[in-house]
Subunit: 202 residues, 2 copies
Amino acid sequence: MSHESDHTQAKERLLDTAENLFARKGFVATTLRDISTELGLTHASLYYHFPGGKEDLFAAVMERNILRHGAGLAAAITEAGSDLRARSRGAAAWLLSQPPIDLIRMTEADMPALPESVARKLMDLVYRELIIRLRSVFEAAVRSGAISASTDSGLVAGAFIGLVESLHSVPFFAVKNTRGDMANELIDILLKGLDYAGGGTK
Amino acid sequence: MSHESDHTQAKERLLDTAENLFARKGFVATTLRDISTELGLTHASLYYHFPGGKEDLFAAVMERNILRHGAGLAAAITEAGSDLRARSRGAAAWLLSQPPIDLIRMTEADMPALPESVARKLMDLVYRELIIRLRSVFEAAVRSGAISASTDSGLVAGAFIGLVESLHSVPFFAVKNTRGDMANELIDILLKGLDYAGGGTK
DNA sequence: GTCTATATTTCGATAGAC
DNA sequence: GTCTATCGAAATATAGAC
């Protein structure tokens, strides 16, 4: 078992390091040498775990990244109960605990550098694991009467992500509190704008 | 004069093409060959206009890009009059008419690849031309009593940019209207959340 | 102003030793 | 599993002709 354990551990460490770099800097700006150096390895060693090279590594790593984003999002929402404000706060806190998801960079820079099939698969995954999952939260709030149906829930979900993720590039804002506090402040504004009348901490 | 005109025209065309690519894909993912090919030139020709190479070209192009963003923002706000909703809509329409400003990519990928001095200058420029300019709009609304002072205007300004810019990666949202329409819808929510009671089209 | 030709560096990738 | 060594491709950059 120790053989397989070594194998698994090494691969897991590789996935973690690669994920952090790929998620932050993207496919093009991250080199295999960046990853291997951070691991204390040579770049040739990466081909043992991913014979398909950079492209396969990126696909595997980003798929894992997006799936974990979605799983964590689902867990955060469930744990938050049924209140929309608590759910939103939980979702934002989770998103901020993860490396940023830069949809603009993925669309403009990463996807054009990848085979069409890989690009579409990853974008579909983002849509399913992030947008739809968040949209469901707002749709549920509409059905329960907590907010009105005047605004498209998909639009609100997309805006929510853009708003929270933009807090990652935080040096630009006059920072006083933590990013989590700032997210909560913005969520309060958003929910008020959606005519939310429910309970929750305020 | 025709000599200088040729020179100026060629350089202007280069700046326009380079700006579109650099703004969309960033410093690392854009190659000099991408730019020269789109211009119908060889990449060596670019060194005539920018002897400093890729780095100088990027710095000049992004400085121009950010300054035009700021100038257009100021113009859009002025033309919109004094109403906060009209100002917000004008600002959003302008931002959406320009190539996206990806603050996350700039922070995580572009800046680390540039000399510290260039990076800081560009980020300062973004702060001054975008964040502060938008913050002033919300601060003015607070002073005039159109919205309450309960929320930090800098935070709102940052959120506004993140929210509008995220519309650039629009395939992810269930798209029905134009991006401008979606922006206006989100602005209405935001202003309502800020207790905006002013006039304007709704 | 733009070209061709070439130098230099960096990156992704493969082969084979340990 | 990781290394050394090496290859070919691509990118930045320079020199000089036109």
